[in-house]
Each structure stands twice: as structure tokens, then as C-alpha cells.
Homo-oligomer: 134 residues x 2
DNA sequence: TTATATCTACCACGTTTGTGGTATTTGACA
DNA sequence: TGTCAAATACCACAAACGTGGTAGATATAA
């Protein structure tokens, strides 16, 4: 588990995405999930290698054998990885996090539903943790 | 410039942070800026190497010689790098970007000012790009 | 003008990552 | 129960990264 501290590489992230999406999957299923996304040119054996490395790092684990293939499931949550990545970006911004949201809003990536949900979150946050600063 | 497409590594990001913060800096100044931040244990020569790689990648460029040292400045903007990183995280979330904001709000990283600014941004966004088909 | 502290230029090298091949095992079916 | 497709185990290797050393150029100070 401590092997994970250093984070996952780009390709490893892509493979994790497959496990998060499929919940449980064999190496081949993960490969197929990757192949579905545009511009994926990794071979099956490459995915196998990555899967092995992910297991070695403790990011996934074997659940059981199905046929002669292993079924894996994610041990690290998408949430935790996303949190770490976002924190890295915040560090890059010297602690400012607002530019991240600006980017999302400005690039139109937040749907109206998400915006409304966000407003609710903001209201809640303003009420709760409002007395920590100046 | 196309060498940049593949992105920068973690350490390279750290060094870029110095150039963004200082606007213009020599390798030594970048090194010192890095050394200020807690848990930085890179040697000066290491930073020099990274600076060289960043220049080779077109992420920074030489401005002029000051003394016998070169002064560099960033060519890539922090904004563009942040945008790319955030987009990567969005991809990891299969297109959902709201969890990113949730993380920021929940971990209390958005100050009240940022929240208010964000509300304004949301209002504006709701008015402008509101008819793109839901 | 010469010494000396720096800087750059270039090199080295172990590790991680990206990429995929080969050999061997094994489950499933004819 | 033998064969055969498919999975795993293991290997290989180049490129990128992290890390830092050394030699030679050079600006500045004495």
C-alpha cells in the first residue's frame, strides 16, 4: 500500500479507469474498455503488464479466477486518486484553487445540473465552515 | 513546441512553478525557490538538468545573460498547464467534473472570497451558455 | 591580470514507464 | 481425453525521469 505513495503513471491511470468503470474486470476486459476509447493504441500484452504492475503496487487485487483468467477489482478509489491529483494542481497554483473551478466553468464542462448542485454545496459550505479565517 | 505535447513530469512542474512565481529567474534562483518549499531535497545540479530539459522542451526560454548566468522565463502559461491537468482529471472521471469541485469545497480549499467569486461566475455562466441542449 | 567562485556544458546511471514479445499453463470443448 | 484458444508468467528493451558529478568557460573582485 505504501508502494502507492508515489502515485500512478498516466497509462496506469487509464487502466484504473477501466476497473473503476467496470467495477470488476479481467485484463482482457480492461483492455477492451481501453480500446473503446478513441486513440488507444496499446496492445493487450501491454495492458497485461500494466495490470501486473497495478497489482504489485496494491492498486488492484485479484478477486477470483473466472475461466482461466483472473478477475480484478480496484483497491484505490477514484475519489482518492482524484483528490490527490487535484491537490497537486492546487499546489501548482500556490494554494489557489479558484482557477481550477474557473477553468471548468469557462470551458463549459459543468452542466447546469452540476452548477445547481454546486450552488447548494456552496451555500452549505458558507453556513458550516464560515468562521475559520478572518 | 510540439515536444510539450506529452506534458511535463512532476519535477519539471515544480521547477516551472519557480519560473511562474519569479517571472524571470536563473537556474540558481529557481533552485533557491524550490529549496524554500518544505521537503525539497534536490541538488542545484539536478535543477540545472531540469532547467535544460525544460528549455529543450520549449517550456522556458533564455532571456539574456546576467553575469555569467542565464536568465529564463516561462513560455507555457500556468493557466494552460492547469487546464491540461484538470482536463486529464475530468477524463479520469469519465467527463464528470463536479467531483473536482466537490473535493475543493469539501476540503475547505476554497476561501469565502473564492466561493463568492465562484457564485458570480456561475450566475454569469447560467445566463450565457444556457441553451446548448440538455 | 590573475585568482576564484560560479555558471554552463556534457556526461553518467539507476529507476520507472511504455511497449510488446515468448513460452508455458490451463480451461473448455469436440 | 486430447487439442487448442486464451490467459498468465516472465523477459526484454528503449525512452523518459530523477539525480547528481566533472570539466571547462567566465565574470568579478583583489
Amino acid at each position: 500500500m505504501t508502494e502507492l505513495e508515489k502515485g500512478l503513471s498516466k497509462l496506469e491511470m487509464d487502466v484504473m479507469r477501466a476497473f473503476w468503470k467496470l467495477d470488476r474486470a479481467t485484463a482482457r476486459e480492461a483492455y477492451e474498455a481501453l480500446a473503446e476509447t478513441p486513440d488507444s493504441k496499446v496492445e493487450y500484452t501491454t495492458v497485461q503488464t500494466i495490470v501486473g504492475r497495478l497489482e504489485a503496487k496494491g492498486a488492484i487485487e485479484r478477486v477470483k479466477k473466472v475461466g482461466n483468467a483472473w478477475l480484478y477489482r480496484a483497491l484505490v478509489t477514484r475519489k482518492s486518486i482524484v483528490g490527490r491529483l487535484v491537490d497537486d494542481v492546487v499546489a501548482l497554483l500556490e494554494g489557489a484553487s479558484q482557477p481550477i473551478v474557473s477553468h471548468l466553468v469557462e470551458s463549459g464542462r459543468l452542466s447546469r445540473e452540476e452548477l445547481l448542485e454546486l450552488e447548494r454545496l456552496i451555500e452549505k459550505s458558507k453556513r458550516e465552515g464560515s468562521d475559520d479565517g478572518e
